[in-house]
Amino acid sequence: MGLDVENIRKDFPILSETVNGEPLVYLDNASSSQKPLAVIEAINNFYKTTNSNVHRGVHSLSQRATTAYEATREKVRAFINANLEHEIIFTRGTTESINLLAATLGKGHVHQGDEIVISEMEHHSNIVPWQLLCEETGAVLKVIPINNKGEITEESYRNVINESTKIVAICHVSNTLGTINSIKAIIDYAHEFGALTVIDGAQAPAHIPVDVQQLNCDFYCFSAHKMYGPTGIGILYGKETLLDELPPYHGGGNMIENVTFAKTTYNKLPHKFEAGTPNIAGGIGLGAAIDYIQSIAYEDIGKYEDELTKYGREQLSSISNLRFIGDAADKSAVFSFVIDGIHPLDLGTILDQQGIAVRTGHHCTQPLMDKFEIPGTVRASFAFYNTLGEVDRLVNGINKAVAMLSR
């Protein structure tokens, strides 16, 4: 039946804000998406009616909080079609999920001379934790190159993954380029060599459905705040057998079974990896975000965002001297671009004056900027609440900025 954007926009109170005297055009969704009222109210109601610590208290409020918080774990399981609820580990976000893996895989799974494979389009959070692991173990970081359109070709990953590969860590969707990678094929190929696969899914679930069993990835990491949920909570999905093999990451309350000064035994999954009081309100907000996405249906989101992508590409192409950075055949509604002779920071500043929020800079992908030999880009990233009219506002805003900046 298609997406009713005007009604959806009413669910997001911030979209009716004005910025610098103009109606806000929010095109920085790849950084962080906005939150629907349902999420805001779920967090509010938790603090008003249920706030209490989880997993410990004997009192009713604590049990109510635990039930509400743990209900999200099941929602996440169903959302990404994981096999088991305890394969869902709550973290602070994608960054912490990847760091958890890099830290714990270093204790037994990775040794000197082993190879860890990433790609040229990775976010710093999917580069630096692996570099730390390499420094610690003597493993070697290998990088799959991308083509000029910003795609990983079959040939390129086949050239890099081999018998020495122990881990392949790749993004599902590139935050800078918008490229949707054929991760299923990469995962299958990595498994032929017995390598573990880690997917940085930060940019995916807001736009495309994720089925971890169909993908058969070993680990999948994502964040609530990029999929209409709150900041400070994210997910690490891992296959049960692998998570069981890994040592704990952080020590503290909740992650233990029994503590003595002589010997401590650890709690079962998922609690083994969840030391300390978790982000309870965040977990409840994440649950509400999943409910919200599921009330819309990915099919409609996909169709609508494809329309935005097609229109955005056409309209932006009409701007002279504009060059897209990343023009993959399969991409989400993210446009990174440069305009000859105009600094991205200047362009972003003048767009902001017009109420248009974009991101400028290297987007935490400096090696990618080096590949394209640019200092940074302007990035406009869309969500399903953006409109074709906002594409027009962006294009007009750019034209106005270019006229001012090339005086």
């Binding site: 610098n20 600094h343 991205p344 920071l345 200047d346 500043t349 003048i350 004056q353 400028t360 800079g361 200092p375 940074g376 001012m404 900046l405 005086r407």
Partner: protein
């Protein structure tokens, strides 16, 4: 040479004639482009202000007990802001620079650019300018 506050008051008056943001930014960009550039020999990595999206070079010299600043940027708005700072603080005594209260940025409505989140390097540049001046006062 005019005092730092006198120069700031002149800038405030100059910007006061624009009642919309476009005029103000165009004036800022024009101001930046009218500036004498930093000598290319000073466009060195060691003169780059770190931590900004735009490149900002700042060079400092001492001449007749006055601090001479020259600067440049690869972004035109940043260059305008940097130019204003140089215009206000250059050719002043180290003591005057250290003690300067840079109120003009707020008064001309560009205070947002001093936010650490802006990544234009302006805040770091002001710190750097004051640090140089402080260094000269200590040497005396």
């Amino acid at each position: 040479m005019l005092s730092i506050d006198k120069i700031q008051d002149e800038i405030i008056a100059d910007f006061g004639i624009f009642d919309d943001w476009m005029g103000k930014y165009e004036h800022l960009i024009d101001f930046g482009s009218s500036l004498p550039l930093i000598d290319d020999k000073y466009k060195l990595d060691e003169n780059l202000i770190k931590g900004c999206q735009s490149k900002v070079w700042l060079n400092t010299e001492m001449k007749d007990d006055k601090v001479i600043f020259s600067a440049d940027s690869d972004a035109v708005i940043t260059k305008g802001l940097v130019g204003l700072m140089v215009h206000v603080l250059s050719n002043q005594t180290p003591e005057a620079i250290v003690n300067a209260d840079l109120y003009f940025i707020d008064k001309i409505g560009l205070k947002d650019h001093l936010s650490p989140n802006r990544s234009n390097g302006l805040l770091s540049m002001i710190k750097q300018m004051k640090l140089f001046a402080l260094g000269y006062t200590l040497k005396k």
